[in-house]
Symmetry: D2
Subunit: 504 residues, 4 copies
Amino acid sequence: MSRPCFHAVSGNPATQHERDDIAAQWRHDDDKPHEECGVFGVWNANDASALTALGLHALQHRGQEASGIVSYDGARFHTHKGLGLVGDVFGDSRVMATLPGHCAVGHNRYATTGATLIRNVQPLFADFEFGGLAVAHNGNLTNADTLRKALVRRGCIFQSTTDSEVFIHLIAISLYSNVVDRLIDALKQVLGAYSLIVLSRNELIGVRDPLGVRPLILGRLREEDGTEGAWVLASETCALDIVGAEFVRDVEPGEIVIINDEGIRSLKPFGSTQSRFCVFEYIYFARPDSIMDGKAVYDTRKQIGVELARESGVEADVIVPVPDSGVPSAMGFAAESGIPFELGIIRNHYVGRTFIEPTDQIRNLGVKMKHSTNRPVLDGKRVVLVDDSIVRGTTSRKIVDMVRAAGAKEVHMRISSPPTTHSCFYGIDTPERSQLLAAQHNIEEMAKLIGVDSLAFISFDGLYRALGYKDRKNACNRYCDACFTGDYPIELVDYEAEHHPEPA
Amino acid sequence: MSRPCFHAVSGNPATQHERDDIAAQWRHDDDKPHEECGVFGVWNANDASALTALGLHALQHRGQEASGIVSYDGARFHTHKGLGLVGDVFGDSRVMATLPGHCAVGHNRYATTGATLIRNVQPLFADFEFGGLAVAHNGNLTNADTLRKALVRRGCIFQSTTDSEVFIHLIAISLYSNVVDRLIDALKQVLGAYSLIVLSRNELIGVRDPLGVRPLILGRLREEDGTEGAWVLASETCALDIVGAEFVRDVEPGEIVIINDEGIRSLKPFGSTQSRFCVFEYIYFARPDSIMDGKAVYDTRKQIGVELARESGVEADVIVPVPDSGVPSAMGFAAESGIPFELGIIRNHYVGRTFIEPTDQIRNLGVKMKHSTNRPVLDGKRVVLVDDSIVRGTTSRKIVDMVRAAGAKEVHMRISSPPTTHSCFYGIDTPERSQLLAAQHNIEEMAKLIGVDSLAFISFDGLYRALGYKDRKNACNRYCDACFTGDYPIELVDYEAEHHPEPA
Amino acid sequence: MSRPCFHAVSGNPATQHERDDIAAQWRHDDDKPHEECGVFGVWNANDASALTALGLHALQHRGQEASGIVSYDGARFHTHKGLGLVGDVFGDSRVMATLPGHCAVGHNRYATTGATLIRNVQPLFADFEFGGLAVAHNGNLTNADTLRKALVRRGCIFQSTTDSEVFIHLIAISLYSNVVDRLIDALKQVLGAYSLIVLSRNELIGVRDPLGVRPLILGRLREEDGTEGAWVLASETCALDIVGAEFVRDVEPGEIVIINDEGIRSLKPFGSTQSRFCVFEYIYFARPDSIMDGKAVYDTRKQIGVELARESGVEADVIVPVPDSGVPSAMGFAAESGIPFELGIIRNHYVGRTFIEPTDQIRNLGVKMKHSTNRPVLDGKRVVLVDDSIVRGTTSRKIVDMVRAAGAKEVHMRISSPPTTHSCFYGIDTPERSQLLAAQHNIEEMAKLIGVDSLAFISFDGLYRALGYKDRKNACNRYCDACFTGDYPIELVDYEAEHHPEPA
Amino acid sequence: MSRPCFHAVSGNPATQHERDDIAAQWRHDDDKPHEECGVFGVWNANDASALTALGLHALQHRGQEASGIVSYDGARFHTHKGLGLVGDVFGDSRVMATLPGHCAVGHNRYATTGATLIRNVQPLFADFEFGGLAVAHNGNLTNADTLRKALVRRGCIFQSTTDSEVFIHLIAISLYSNVVDRLIDALKQVLGAYSLIVLSRNELIGVRDPLGVRPLILGRLREEDGTEGAWVLASETCALDIVGAEFVRDVEPGEIVIINDEGIRSLKPFGSTQSRFCVFEYIYFARPDSIMDGKAVYDTRKQIGVELARESGVEADVIVPVPDSGVPSAMGFAAESGIPFELGIIRNHYVGRTFIEPTDQIRNLGVKMKHSTNRPVLDGKRVVLVDDSIVRGTTSRKIVDMVRAAGAKEVHMRISSPPTTHSCFYGIDTPERSQLLAAQHNIEEMAKLIGVDSLAFISFDGLYRALGYKDRKNACNRYCDACFTGDYPIELVDYEAEHHPEPA
């Protein structure tokens, strides 16, 4: 769908100085779903921008294509954005010196579509009548295009191609007079998944959508030198650890947390809402050392491995994780099954920003750039490969081939999530259903296509047992698992408008 | 005055990837007024972008800080912008390959305030309900801030800090349905000097403000290979010469020229208006080989030199121009006076983008980077220096010192414009009155400050005689000469609001 | 020691365009010894340069600061070098297109001293009377400075600051007429550790120093399309795997392998020599999936963990590796001790090229950039940390602090190498003895300095048992373990000259 | 001819990081001979590097492709080099801060062959047994290849492809013990044109070849703050003016000037020699404000115009210079002939580093990028174009076409040099004879090819009259005019070896 926007032109929007899609080259190659973003904000701390850069570094796994920070020094807002890793964008102390102030908000971006443009890098910033406002957003709106068209019709000019800019324009045209009322006015018009951090001259605001699909937590820096402890908002607890902040609580679904010099207060403009937290955060996205919604991610993953071993045990000689994300589940699987856990696949972490495109003689090398087999561990063995998900299946096939080429006698694959049968519209980059292997094939067919002797996924009940419930039913829709079930808890307005337009 | 804008923050608006103020370093050093922009557009030609790049190159003297081109290929708009000279921005054939199409509009920018941001580089582009629109603007609006504040209040979000973006928003919110009507709606709300070239999907539009302060001409490429000749719009005739186009006519003050596949038509939405063309274009800005408003710039400059010699002749041994702009007037002065014309000052054209900042022992070298004296021509001589204007007087002082150090016995300065006593608000970068030497001192004082034995400026009547009139009165306000007279023909809305705000 | 060299100046040798020491910023921060280089060569294959880039990518762990490839197309040599990871330097297909030919040699560089200059990046290339010659070198010469001084005295001009350039000059001034004889002439004059790959117009040559301190292996690509299988030389077997080559054999200590269109032949100019292979390759340097000298690196590391558990078992709740290098030993330790293996420390692999320097409030964050603790695994537990070595001890201290801050009740550290008491002069970047913790303190003191409840290193006999010998004595000096013992098998000529100069 | 060299490979010698031939793109387009280099050195001054950068800026006309400075601070040498204009390479104060010291030597490069490599940028520097040595060279050796081959045979490894590196190696292998003796030893082996500035730890040395083909002058900075005045060596007097130094004298042909803390001394190792100064310096290369060999360049050029008018006067309406170099001669021609001097051709000085390559419809635009016609001055007129030389004639043809297209009734061309019939081997970039128009055609044919109504060159006697002699004979071989006469005063060893090799 085309999106009208200021300064950019559909089809070839980038000027030379803005264009940098090298980063996108390897994006889909590892055939994983991708988190779209990480957010971090701090109110009233020395070195606010440095803390934010550290927080973004700890959240790097949530987005590696671009980073941005907006700081506020009591008089002015300061912005720096760039393409690349946090360390590349903010590693220069001269850059950090351009971001003074006691408050800051930052964003890591993983772009889902098109080239990565510097204009699209968040936080977005606009100067309003009432002063500046920076917005960092993790998630995806399901009625962004519909709203965008209406706003353009009204005379609004968009300058990015991101969903998130819709927030800015809705705030700009709101007739309410203060920032929080304008923000609520805007929130009431959008649908979708949004964890927001907003920085104005007078407050730092955290927002989670009514269903709390994407995470957002509140933390506090210990007081130093007699100063009051600063408040921190972040996507995950691992970002608190790196800056030495203490976890206070999760921001609640549908909650607006407003932090200012008077302290902290909370609004619930949507009333009491039902949590539908993204279950895939536990399976793959979140960092293993994070604690989400009260549960340790690492423990949960190991426990999924345990359940998987119970459900789909198999006689074998070694349990081998597909690194890095399959490691905890494989450890759980090994512990439960009593079969030794071995590093049969080695991951090369030194992949630069770009790499050689396969030519002539050299084919299908993509996967070899990241993984290599540890032959002595695999040769002549019955191998259980443990991975977290199968999306297109292309990488799984290559890894199985590598493992067989290294001499494995049997290859069994165990997946620590149910089959991925549906696309995500709430902030995760997944391909269309037509490209999802599990949407097109049953498990037997998938096993054949991937080339394994047996294939099993964790069951729904097994997954929810690992999360501490008796079974899925017992979890009472506490999570969004639409990518496995097609049970979408938020209306897909744009999708419906495009695929099932109403008759004229 | 602060200007609210999207994504930028007053005080430190630039991200690292956007910031490049190196180009600005030498900006004021030559102590000349500066033209703000050059514009060029072409409709229905092969290689439209290449022609536009050539046209911009010929107009390089009107702006050296940045360049941009938007092309249209019948389906999509394509944009490329960059900081630097036209050859630096468009010299790469791979860049040109990203600008396909038979129509294009281009812009050279000379920034008057703040850092040079890629966001500010024109043409500005926006995608509207009715399709894309690119706008290139030479001039300055006198009510831009007033309009901007009103637009921000209405919810419009600005993304550049240029006056020109006001046009875009006024067009965006207009209730008229077609591009031309929306454009006229916008024009009726702005005040100031504006030569515009606008490119939409269906037409190329040229506009001159009601008084025609800034130039805009119409040209036509000869037909080739049976194709119809393409139309060209440009700031000066020298841009026609480089692409081999023929001069058709000046766009008239207050005229809108609309070029589309049906041909060309003209609108006069402001009715018949009085021309007040900028007289400084003749004195300094325009390229000597351009013909403006029917008069050859080179001839006019020489004739000013003739008039100056008649008015302020002096016994001397050599007539020496301050290169490059003083050359034609000095030739006229020499011819009329019979005193030999000699190149006593040599200009070094190889000044890179940056240069050494004077330190310790090395002071006041700025002027030496650009000029050096040709000692044998000056030593022991009575020298008449001919220059086009005195703004702050700092460079004049340094040049006089250099000429004396080279042995000149006497130094007389003759200036081919009247004393610059007022700021320009119509698109020329001049300092505030407090910094204009002639606004603070009489001629005798100026002579002393600059260090010359005598100083004379062309008289008003002399200037207009050189332009073909009997005297200034006889020219009947045909020109804007506000920088010499303070007679501002267009209301200074923003300036008045800032300096003489109405009582609350 | 100062090294005379062409074009560079000691102290500030780099021109702006050559200087890039950003890469060096994090070099010592992880407080590990560093391998200096990886080498790869291929003779007679399609896409020789692409294969070499892949091989270098697989050898990236041996050097991350710079990479270079020289190819030969039958008529001309072609060179490309750059700073950064292999993927950064060779990821652009346009770059690869500049490296045509069926033969190529490549090099990964880890610089031990000074800034990383593009001039120092290998392979070094020189045009001789007899044609071009490219040399890639892994190792370090112990008489390089002595030879360099003599060569400079003779009139040779050095252009890099690398030891390796000595080879080039010795070959250049040799009076022998063919490449192999000149090479042998040069080899007879140098002392030290050198695995060389040399590419001339007529042959690809692999050389290992008489003691075979650094690794070099021979592999062969399977024949395709009726062509004969190409020969490959590489530092490790993992580089064969990525290109699909089969392992043939280790190049022997003191052997020269000459590959040309007639086939392969072997010379032993030093006669039969004693192998003293670097034992640290097993402990830390080599990739776990490589097989060195007939032994699988991964198995050896696990076995060291087993021996360590036997020697220095301790009551504890969890075995936690310091990732990534401590993982296999920790697995062995856990398996032998029966204590659960847990990922209590998470490594952040997304460290960009640079990062924020700690300021004010933010101190000692370096280690946190790379590692974070997985609190639920550590809290309230008795923890055994397994790491491969302690060099300065600074990182160990920080990690222990982190683990305690995460709630560990006891922290025991087990190290899979003996105490590092001596510097390496054979190609490994280690600090001077004065900075080696184990050279200055006994184990009790070290435990206190690092802050652990107990500290143990693998014993010499335990280490050699893991390698398959009864004890160290039984290994019969088969390895170089000078960094643990000070038993240097190759004379340290330069070091002696500098530290114990002969009386005049 | 192929030149063996270190690190570079014939055919594709440049690595990506070294390659930058964009600068070369416009090189031959203006169809002028090019000076190869400018040199500047200073001994014992504060801000020695800043003075050198200024001096190089004043000498920018002698080489625009690259610049370098080596400074010495009493302990160490410091180097910075870069491609581009002096202001681009040295305009950053942080760069200047890396070049401390009271002594410095600098070089502007105009490359004659191949790509411009940073390795080729001078000053060349080498660290010898006796310390560092920097060498800056203007000129060309006629036996460089012969010497180079002999040096390579001896084992010397070249790292640049410049002639100048031969000096370095000859100095390196000399058996003499001090710098000056080694330098003289080297000089006695080379043939050709060489103005050298050499900087060692103890002295700054200026050398002119025995015939003094290329210029070199000695100047002195006025004493400041009680310090002794610093010595300056430079290619032209205009470089003294910019730093405020006073002209002392020309370095004499065959003279070695040695400046150290004791003062200045002079050696004449070649005995008394005959001066053969390059006459083209007067005609075209030198800056008009320089004084060479006691004669003002500007005056000489004007006088050539006077002589030309006397010899080849023609009835015409305007005298039009081809800017910029033809201006003084045109002034002289106009003054003598009484025909008005007019700027009928305008030069665009804003040509960026690159520009659009002509495509399709757009042909032969090269010349239009730099020049445009001032139509009112030319239309209907009989025009005399005055230029300094005709090399290939391609540009002349285009300019004549432009002038005719602007309406000129007659076009007469007058050239202020004799016909260029031979190549220069002494440091000027001229094409081979086969491409020199005057080497292939008589004047009548040339006139036809260029498209003029008449064509005349200054006669030999006229040229020498302008230089103050009665005629050429009377000038007694005081100048090298080989490019006009083929009378080569220095043996062309390499050229002869290549074109007339001796029978085996």
